[in-house]
């Protein structure tokens, strides 16, 4: 796990989200949220379906223009300086966005051209470790393999910020536990900032430094995980249920 994060992190912030609103037509999915993510920390964004997690991720990646407010990544506006911002960001989408009619090695070659810094051997090692042959077609990979492929690619440029959008969606229980305990933890220990959205509260409980819970487009909670658990004497799941209103199960 990363070092203790100070409660006021303005100077050391990797990501600063200020008064962010996103609106699709008349529907407002994010409504003036603000938070910061400290360098080297793990920030978990939680929320029920439709809470605005994916919209937030898209704003962080410069894929979505905010209706109001802004997102700064390493001091640069994510929308207007998308190219510069993304050069030091790794991204693992909820479902693989790689075109299916390609081989793994084509995708790897494409990514290698995208980044000035690319650790080819590390990517090859990871793919080998995940059991993904480079000659395989992307469309022939299982859902889990695709998720692991995108993870390997996201780490290829040794990013300063890793954004994970529900990365364990296609993984089995063992792989999911490995992912959180070994992978993300290790990354954080090496100083990589991680922002992830997930529905796996147990997995995130052991690694997140700070959690934000989105509810109805607003950031209902933005606290250090350890402190909020201590203050409330509750597990993360109980806290989530409290904040989101308990009705219905976790999504």
């Amino acid at each position: 796990m990363s070092a203790t994060v100070e409660s006021t992190m303005t100077d050391g912030a990797m990501v600063r989200v200020h008064n962010l609103s996103v609106q699709y037509g008349k529907r407002r999915v994010l409504d003036g949220i603000s938070f910061e993510v400290a360098r080297g920390s793990v920030y978990a964004v939680l929320g029920r379906n439709g809470a605005g997690k994916s919209s937030l991720i898209r704003c962080l990646l410069g894929l979505q223009k905010p209706s109001a407010g802004h997102v700064l990544v390493q001091g640069a506006d994510a929308w207007t300086h998308r190219g510069r911002v993304l050069s030091s960001v790794g991204y693992v989408p909820e479902t693989s966005d790689a075109p299916g009619a390609l081989r793994v090695r084509d995708i790897v070659a494409f990514h290698e051209s995208m980044y000035s810094r690319w650790n080819r051997s590390a990517v090859a090692d990871r793919l080998k470790r995940f059991g993904i042959p480079e000659r395989a077609g992307v469309s022939t990979l299982s859902k889990g393999q695709k998720a692991l492929l995108t993870l390997a690619l996201a780490l290829g440029n040794e990013p300063a910020l890793l954004i994970l959008d529900d990365p364990t969606l296609g993984l089995d229980v063992v792989a999911r536990n490995d992912f959180f305990s070994d992978f993300v933890g290790e990354l954080a220990d090496h100083g990589t900032t991680v922002i992830l959205t997930t529905h796996d509260l147990l997995g995130v409980e052991g690694i997140a430094d700070r959690v934000g819970i989105l509810q109805g487009g607003r950031l209902a909670l933005d606290e250090e995980l350890a402190r909020v658990k201590l203050d409330r004497s509750q597990s993360l799941e109980q806290i989530f249920m409290d904040v989101t209103g308990r009705s219905g199960g976790l999504s």
Partner: protein, 647 residues
């Protein structure tokens, strides 16, 4: 550059097989077509292959977006220009693949074995690639943006959307109406159509680029940017087309650079000129102006020749010149649409007296949709001003004549027997119209009086069957007809000039001249005498006959005299000559036959309105056109011609 190439490489890897397969298929088309005895040009087959390659390449943005794959590119540090540049490079690669596939397939399938000729890639092919790629890019994005926003719309949204579509359709229809009117009337070449088409292509391209950059993965923004882009271009195009329509089709007199043709009205007070102006295409666009011969002022008359060409004025006069009627050139598409919707004539004809009065054509008048004109339309206003004879023809049953009155509606009508058509006509008085009809084949002429109120007819005279008259002219009172018989083509042959007295008890043509001639011309003089010009190269003979047909004067003229003009002054008439390509006019004294003056580089105006020249001494009778197509007025026999309009 590196990133753009990476995008291009990735796209090529995804799509080369499809482009190559269509290239191969296109290469087989010419050979396969031969098996069914059809012929497909290889260049068209290449167009097909290239078009499909461009379609595939252009649809990449839209299909990636629709499949949720666009973040694959936008979530990587590659700028939008690099992505677009990469996709254009991929387009080039796919086209090359398609051409390679085509060439290989056409070589292998050639009926002479390996035919190794290459199909050259032309500018047209490149245009097809560009156009298809842009269309594919735009519509794939638009479709993807709309299919991904599948949600229930509220009723108000439907209303607003419907109203927006209705406004867009109305504005587009207005713009297209003006554009069609502009291009069909003022341009022979398709340049404006190409300009408008490519402006839409450019707008679609720019709107797509803006949508990609500003929308990225946001379907709503992509759709909105596409809409705004195209609406803005639509508004701009409407404004430009409306301005161009007003500017090109409505020139002022100052825009006139030359004359295509000129005619004098029968009263001699007004001339009509078909002009060349500093806009439009001069090969088809000759805007009409009326010129007040007293003041010299010209006014635009929306009576352009249109499809009928420039030789036939689309302005009709009563014989005394007081009533004028012309086809008001309303925008073509609206006329067309209104005619379809209302099934009624919207072909407005306006009288010139007082406030222009809409004049509806008979509803069943035969409208030719190919030329947007009534078939063989002719109108004769009666001098009284409240009666018009209208004739038209249809392909099936021949000519129709109707009598219509703005105040009383249609009074009567009749149909001439099949294959019979009217050569000339004149009102005797407001209740009787005299027509000269050519009977079917070489059936001679029939002079018929028609009662305008009842449509009943009475044959006044006929000519022998077998006689064909090249020219038939009625005099001012319509009681005498001048018949000119000379075979086509011109050459030494039997020519006859005869006069027919129609109020005689047994009207029979009386020959004024009969003999060999290369050409002949004849006209009534204002005092009732008849001038006849017979051309027998190298010279021509002028003969003047008294009203009862007796020879009053014979005089040989020199080389080249060919056409009689009107009478500019009392007892003086024009004769035009064409010698070695140069027009000349001579003023001839009608009493002595003496040549009073010769003006080189001028010709008389065409004798228009069925042989009714302006009265001697009126300004319209003095008009001349110079070889460089400028209008002149000859003030007197001795004065120099004075330029009108163009100085």
């Amino acid at each position: 550059m590196r990133k753009a190439l990476a995008v291009a490489t990735l796209d090529l890897r995804r799509q080369w097989m499809a482009a190559g397969a269509f290239g191969v298929a296109a290469g087989l088309i010419p050979a396969l077509a031969r098996y069914i005895a059809a012929r497909v040009e290889p260049t068209n087959a290449v167009s097909f292959a290239l078009g499909v390659a461009a379609l595939i390449a252009g649809a990449t943005f839209g299909s990636d977006f629709a499949e949720g794959k666009s973040s694959f590119f936008f979530a990587r540090p590659v700028s939008t220009p690099s992505i677009v540049a990469g996709r254009i490079a991929a387009l080039c690669g796919l086209c090359a693949t398609a051409v390679l596939g085509f060439t290989a397939a056409s070589w292998l399938s050639g009926h002479q074995g390996l035919v190794t000729s290459l199909v050259p890639i032309t500018t047209r092919h490149l245009q097809i690639v560009a156009a298809v790629w842009i269309v594919s890019l735009f519509f794939s994005l638009a479709i993807a943006a709309n299919t991904r926003q599948a949600r229930r719309k509220e009723f108000a949204e439907f209303l607003i959307g419907g109203a927006r579509v209705a406004v867009a359709v109305a504005i587009t229809a207005l713009m297209l109406g003006l554009f069609v009117d502009l291009t069909m009337r003022a341009y022979a070449v398709p340049t404006p159509v190409k300009l408008l088409t490519w402006s839409y292509a450019a707008a679609a391209f720019l709107a797509s680029l803006a949508a990609i950059e500003l929308g990225r993965t946001d379907r709503l923004r992509i759709g909105r940017v596409l809409n705004v882009g195209m609406y803005c271009h639509g508004a701009l195009a409407c404004a430009v087309v409306a301005i161009a329509w007003a500017y090109v089709l409505h020139p002022g007199a100052g825009a006139i650079t030359g004359l295509a043709n000129a005619f004098s009205a029968p009263d001699g007070r007004v001339a009509y000129v078909y002009t060349h102006v500093d806009r439009g295409d001069p090969t088809v666009f000759a805007p009409a102006f009326s010129v007040d011969l007293g003041s010299g002022e010209a006014q635009r008359v929306m009576a352009d020749g249109g499809f009928s060409g420039l030789d036939t004025p689309r302005i009709w006069h009563s014989r005394d010149g007081n009533i004028r009627v012309w086809n008001e050139r309303t925008p073509l598409l609206f006329r067309y649409a209104r005619r379809i919707v209302t099934s009624a004539s919207t072909f407005r004809i306006r009288t010139s007296f007082g406030d222009a009065t809409p004049f509806a054509m008979p509803e069943d008048a035969d409208f030719d949709w190919n030329t947007f004109e009534f078939r063989n339309l002719d109108i004769l206003p009666a001098s009284a001003g409240d009666l018009f004879a209208v004739r038209w023809s249809d392909r099936a049953t021949g000519q129709h004549v109707a009598f219509v009155s703005p105040s009383r509606g249609e009074l009567s009508r009749l149909r001439l027997p099949t294959a019979q058509f009217i050569r000339t006509w004149a009102f005797l008085e407001s209740t009787r119209l005299r027509v000269v009809a050519q009977r079917a084949g070489a059936g001679g002429l029939e002079f018929i009086d028609i009662d305008t109120l009842t449509g009943s007819t009475r044959t006044v005279a006929t000519t022998d069957r077998g006689a064909f008259y090249r020219s038939v002219t009625l005099d001012a009172s319509a009681q005498r007809a001048l018949l000119l018989s000379i075979p086509y083509p011109s050459g030494p042959s039997d020519a006859t000039v005869s006069v027919l007295q129609l109020d005689a008890p047994q009207p029979k043509p009386m020959a004024l001249y009969s003999g060999k001639a290369n050409n002949a011309d004849a006209s009534f003089l204002a005092d009732g005498r008849i001038a006849v010009l017979v051309r027998q190269p190298p010279t021509a003979d002028l003969r003047v006959f008294s009203p009862d047909g007796k020879v009053a004067l014979t005089r040989p003229l020199g080389e080249g005299f060919s056409n009689l003009g009107g009478e500019p002054f009392a007892n003086v008439f024009w004769v035009s000559t064409l010698v070695r390509g140069i027009w000349n006019v001579a003023l001839i004294d009608a009493r002595s036959g003496e040549m009073l003056r010769r003006l080189s580089g001028f010709r008389t105006l065409d004798n228009w309105d069925r042989g009714v020249p302006p009265p001697p001494g009126s300004p319209g009778a003095h008009l001349l056109m110079s070889t460089d197509r400028k209008l002149y007025l000859l003030p007197s026999v001795t004065d120099d011609p004075r330029p009108l309009l163009l100085h």
